[in-house]
Amino acid sequence: MLLLLLACAGPDGWTEQERAAILSLSPVPAPAPSPTNRVADDPAAAKLGEALFFDEGLSIDGQTSCGSCHLPKLHFSDGERVATALGTGTRNTPSVESVGWGTWYFWDGRIDSAWAQAAGPLLNPLEMGATPEHVQARVRAAYADEFAKVFGGVAEEPTATLAQVGKALEAYERTLGPKPARFDRYAADLLAGTDSDVLSDQEKAGLRLFVGEASCTSCHHGPLFTDHSFHNLGLPAIPAGGIDPGRARGAGDVGVDPLNCRSGHADRAGAAAATDTAAPGAQLDTAAPGAPGGPTAQADTARSKDTAAPAPSGVSAADDPCPELRYLDASFPDWASAFKTPSLRNVAATAPYMHDGQLDSLGAVLQFYNTLPGKPLVGHRELTLEPLQLSSSELAALEAFLRTLTAEAPPAAP
């Protein structure tokens, strides 16, 4: 939208530009459509997905569930630096509350749907360590009636069953969307034109910095406080942590993911659910994420030809059900060690921070942005980043505002 930028402050103390920026951050809308999951918004599927989410029987050791690392009391994060289940991973456990608005999943975006993402940890040897056959056996033993109701039955092919599990998990996770926080109440008051004391003067000062001088909304914009994109922050390397290629690898991996939008497991509008069709070509990859590698950054040309997942022959652009895959440039040079911008919804409850959990507190995060120490080992730091150079009181205000984005914790696991 074209904005006429007015410098004068309104009766609420905000300029028109600030007011528009603040209102663009609230409220959280309904989840975006999930076109490859026919049951994404089916209440019965969500109920089934909740049971699956907390079912330790899906793991190979019978002791680990999705809920082992995605704890309701921590807004479905785990409070650990990196995920630890059957083994220890290399990345921080993100909340699942915002899956209803994403395009790419995991820190490196190697998955293109929430249901395919939900299926991934079941097979990861560092997480739940199962096989599709194990998952299918568990489902047949414990959820036959529920699957009959939601899917018409358990799929014959084990990977197709895994896809069904993922779709039910997504249906549940879509019900977990961030609930209104104190900031949303303030934004509602602002929209209504009423004076509001929902936020303190310090929190308002932090909000002013957030949408203004600190430029946080360059990446953390919209009601989910994320651009859904990937950036290299130039974080200090963790000793022995190795080099994580991030999006540079994920952008290539998503094109060959056996559960991606082009797979036979993706539902299509107007077609029967794709529950018994094997994915063409690729095999399920049970390797742990984060290994070095990934496409090499190429010269900056007008248009790259390295499309993540070209459309099958004869599928026109206008009719392609997978436009994100069709147009994704897997060799975009700035993907090197870039990671997904996380939502800031409920951020006060999801420490530690960054893709590898290396920053323990919001204060540490803000201090990082304030000075931007060090240089990235791979690629270059996002060019829009400059040291904030804020005072201690300004940093405190910014942190105070960030804490207003956190709602009450969801109920405990059933």
């Binding site: 939208m1 074209l2 904005l3 006429l4 930028l5 007015l6 028109e16 530009q17 007011r19 528009a20 920026a21 209102l23 663009s24 395009t103 929209l191 360059s218 990446c219 914009h221 919209g222 651009d227 859904h228 994109s229 950036h231 900056d300 007008a302 248009r303 790259s304 030809k305 390295d306 499309t307 652009a317 206008a318 436009p323 994100e324 069709r326 147009y327 994704l328 440039d329 975009f332 040079p333 700035d334 993907w335 060019l383 829009t384």
Partner: protein, 153 residues
């Protein structure tokens, strides 16, 4: 809500683009909110009108862009090759997508035309805010020419 803070043509004596009034989050602008009067290419071989769908182009979302190419007198140029792209000059990179140009109306022999001088490109995405340059390259009967339009998102 994404603010297009400035939108100026650099193709010569181009008229300023027109845009809607300042909307708020509660008052979404009616589409198309972004349209421009015909802009001359740098060597004034062609004139281009363009719009996006959706309009204005949202951040981090795929959008289409259609350019209507005419000669200086306003007659449609239907048999040109038009490539539309976008870059962030200060960042040294373009989009993180590979857009595709619609081939137009093609006959059995593969010869394609663009009725009305309309050229459509799909798969555009502004994946981050900042200074972008939208570029239209036209190779038509009068020769090759281009237009650049700076955008600030």
């Amino acid at each position: 809500m994404i603010a297009l803070l400035a939108l100026l043509a650099c193709g010569g004596d181009a008229p300023a683009p027109s845009g809607g009034a300042a909307p708020t989050a509660a008052e979404p602008a009616a589409e198309p909110a972004l349209s421009v009067a015909p802009l001359p290419t740098v060597n004034k071989l062609y004139r281009i009108t363009w719009h996006t769908t959706p309009a204005p182009p949202p951040l981090s979302t795929l959008f289409e862009i259609e350019a209507v190419v005419t000669d200086p007198a306003g007659a449609p140029v239907e048999d040109a090759q038009v490539r539309i792209n976008a870059r962030m000059p200060q960042h040294g990179h373009g989009m993180a997508t590979n857009p595709e140009d619609d081939p137009g109306t093609c006959d059995a022999a593969g010869a394609c035309t663009h009725p009305g001088g309309r050229y459509l490109t799909r798969g555009m995405k502004f994946h981050m805010p900042g200074e972008w340059t939208l570029r239209f390259d036209v190779e038509g009967p009068a020769g090759a020419d281009h237009l650049e339009v700076p955008l600030r998102l």
